[in-house]
Amino acid sequence: MGLEGIGARVVRKEDKRFLTGKGRYTDDMTVPGMKYAFFVRSAHAHARIVSIDTSAAKDMPGIIDILGGKELQADGIGNLICGWMIHSKDGSPMKMGAWRPLAHETVRYVGDAIAIVVADSLAEARDAAEAVVVEYDVLPAVTQASRALEAGQPQIHPEASNNLIFDWQLGDADSTDAAVARAAHVTEMKIVNNRLSPNPMEPRATLGIYDEAEDHYTCYTTSQNPHVARLVMSAFYNVAPENKLRVIAPDVGGGFGSKIYIYPEEIVCLWASKKTGVPVKWTSDRTEAFLTDAHGRDHETTVKMAFDADHRIIGLKVDTIANIGAYMSLFSSATPTYLYATLLSGQYDIPAIHANVRAVYTNTAPVDAYRGAGRPEATYVMERTMETAARELGIAPAELRRKNFIRSFPHQTPVIMNYDAGDFEASLNAALAASDYAGFPARKAEAATRGMKRGIGMSCYIEACGIAPSAAVGSLGAGVGLWESAEVRVNAVGTIEVLTGSHSHGQGHETTFAQLIADRFGVSMDSVNIVHGDTDKVQMGMGTYGSRSGAVGMSAIVKALDKVEAKAKKIAAHLMEADESDIVIENGELKVAGTDKTLPWFQVALAAYTAHNLPSGMEPGLKETAFYDPSNFTFPAGCYICEVEVDPETGKTQIVQFVAADDFGNIINPMIVEGQVHGGIAQGIGQALLEAVHYDPANGQLITASYMDYAMPRADDLPSFQVSHQTTPCPSNPLGIKGCGEAGAIGSPPALINAITDAIGNNELNMPATPQKVWLAANAAH
């Protein structure tokens, strides 16, 4: 691996600029003549707009213009869409209501955008926004999905009667019902997966620039996938054709999924720039982020896990109600369906599975993929049920899992997925050993002497990453393909630029992708630049989410590197008068194997560009492009074990130990992978212990609109994590990579809740396990 190659713990190249405050984020961008936008937003969760009066506001100082939805519609700007078609079990397509970038007829959640104010300064824009008079006819609101399905509840979109968007199923109902009926034991649980706010450190922002002379738009935006943004904005929202729209996502400070989607603000700022003739910048404040960033999770589930007398799972029946919010965000339909129910086999050999999912509109912010996207929800259902079943059956949680593990690969589950590789027992054993599981009873007894209730819980997760084969997702309803592109440009002096369609917003592409090149050609990482995030530089790409940058993005680079290497070898063979098949690349040199003939890398590059002496018929230059479409999802898996102490007097939980044993396939940079695991676990612990979005059920107002009420995990909430890796290389991509970006957030919540329920002796506990909830559950247990 060398000091910089695959497997080396190389310090992140990008951190110098991030840690010294030299990052360049969207809000750092300024262009001549730029003005500031503030959005007028709905104060009500559900209302008809009677009138919008901007006359007084328009006369205020510094105001350039105030624009609303009617003008936007008149200019032909389209509604926002969901890009993944789901069909209900009766065959009917999902019932999608209109999401106008600026509402002028009806508002459907607190924060719904109504008008844009453009002014010389942000303060003036804000002042004028407060002076815009919106007259509402307030309607009743509903925030909880199961409630929204009931008769007599407010109707949010005319298209979706009873607010039901789709009633979808996966798997075989008959065989699953039969298994439940004949089971020796059925563990049944009601499980809630709490709604979360994504909270990236950098809030969303956008700068729309219209150049009248060129009839061309530039959009700086906080995006995880600028090319998809450009595609959707031109193909569906009619902002501009692709060749007249450049989208740049510069440094982006975290996304966690929430920056995949196209929101109203970037569309409106581009349009407003043309209308007003000035560049328009908008930056979300933290309250706007709580109100309008796509939320995550929010499932209500009933699960039945059926066992035979030998403790083998013979059937799994799951019924889930998923809250979609007021509008269908870009991938909102895929998250609770194909990213969720397809993982309900977990690590287990289950002959019959049936999942039913109803997606429901409510008067809340749109819900979409958030770190893990569907797989945390599936894992939480599986692993809480598994642990509860072990307690009910009176057998050790590890043994119940071991008994049901899938042990031969490939393994076809009843819910689409074909697991290609894994060794679940290896991770389980590693976690059991690292946590000294056997020593737990003694630790519990010691804690009891201090009046503390100690508990231990585990979670064996599997997830699907790298999404995915384009043909497969296409057949399931995706509106896009999920390949990735790469371009490797070797300069005349041998330095290398790699253009990738994936996007880094904290993942460390500039380091790991450069390590790949260093490893391949033996050149220094310093001579490699990674270029991403600009549609004028990178031709096309699908962006970063679903832990796909390594498995898909780097695989595309490998394909391009293969082509570069082949051409470089041809040139070297020609120059050294050797056979092409004898050329090897080592330490930055091309050598003729078994001889002392060698050419430094830069000379081969130079030869390609001087083109004075190339093999006959060869084109000059050394630059190759590749598109890579994976043949399967990848399947990271692992085992997490958490140990807690609960203070029975207050219900406060302290995490005393957290062990993670993950199989991510091959690893490029273990330090970065560990960082991803640490961050993921912190987020999972946040969900399990602290975080929850609360709406007032009476009127749909967001109660958790600031950090005074929305509890984020802090350093002192977290233990020091013990992380290890077991490796079964992924057979489906050239690097054997599975992906590591989401596992921590997927595997950790059930491990933590299982530990708390073990400590208090009550399996009924919903996330977040706040002190009050744990205290109540502990008292109810006696």
């Binding site: 303060a123 007097e649 509890a711 984020m712 706040t770 009050q772 205290w775």
Partner: protein, 264 residues
């Protein structure tokens, strides 16, 4: 934030004069509450009179067991004062758990008591210590000073200049922090002194900080953590929000009282 005019007061008299010469004026101390509220446009003073440079309002003096805390003393200075620690370590401990280091180096005791947030820590200490709040024109006992949620006995232009109290024989503070804000979800300050036992509760009362008679009686009879066990805490006058019900807060009052006595 709306535009505002800034004035720096050099003395208490100067501050009063500046305040009377402009309308919609507010005093500014650490700004840890006021500036945040202004940034959210929930407060819109036309003028700010900064009290942080009034020398008379700063500093900690301990003579015998008499304690004088200038209103402009930061939470950090209270937490770190050796003189104060030697007579009343409980208040140093309390100050060391307010907010984070930034807040502790900016926020002041005067600003905190004038603001009287129902979840703030100092009100519990001042009420249990039977402290006196000194202003530019009078002295007000803590019992009379804290009148309700964000309400005090201060007149519109009155300035808190100091807080004084007699250090008790024993005192302890135990705080259960709100998981999100880390203000007190329930905090109990217990003090045993010449005037008997006083127990004050913050973060829990529907009308703000309050004394608990049942706990005071039990602890007067038997100053020990165990004495709390038999006390009933009525939840009917307690706050309820998304973080904690009134019943849960009633439980926390007892548990925090017990731990405060143990720490005293």
């Amino acid at each position: 934030m709306y535009a505002t005019n800034y004035h720096r007061a050099s003395s208490v008299q100067d501050a009063l004069a500046l305040k009377s010469s402009t309308d919609e004026t507010k005093y500014l101390s650490g700004g840890m509450t006021l500036i945040a509220t202004m940034k959210q446009r929930l407060a819109a003073p036309s003028d700010l009179v900064d009290l942080r440079h009034v020398a008379d309002m700063k500093g900690i003096t301990v003579s015998g067991r008499s304690v004088h805390l200038g209103a402009g003393t930061t939470h950090y200075d209270v937490s770190a004062s050796a003189a104060l620690k030697s007579v009343c370590p409980a208040i140093c401990h309390l100050a060391s758990h307010i907010g984070d280091p930034h807040v502790r180096h900016m926020g002041t005791i005067g600003g905190s008591v004038a603001n009287n947030d129902p979840a703030a820590d100092y009100p519990a200490a001042l009420l249990a210590l039977d402290a006196v709040i000194v202003t530019d024109r009078r002295q007000i006992s803590a019992a009379e000073f804290f009148t309700g949620l964000f309400e005090t006995a201060l007149e519109e232009d009155e300035i808190v200049t100091a807080v004084t109290f007699e250090a008790p024989e024993k005192a302890g503070y135990s705080k259960f922090a709100n998981p999100a804000s880390r203000y007190a979800m329930t905090g109990v300050f217990v003090a045993k002194g010449a005037g008997g036992v006083r127990v004050a509760v913050t973060g829990a009362g529907a009308d703000g900080v309050f004394r608990h008679a049942g706990l005071e009686q039990a602890l007067s009879a038997n100053w020990s953590p165990e004495a709390v066990a038999g006390v009933t805490v009525d939840s009917s006058n307690l706050m309820a929000d998304i973080h904690a019900s009134a019943e849960y807060r009633a439980n926390l009052v007892k548990v925090m009282a017990k731990r405060a006595v143990a720490a005293a």
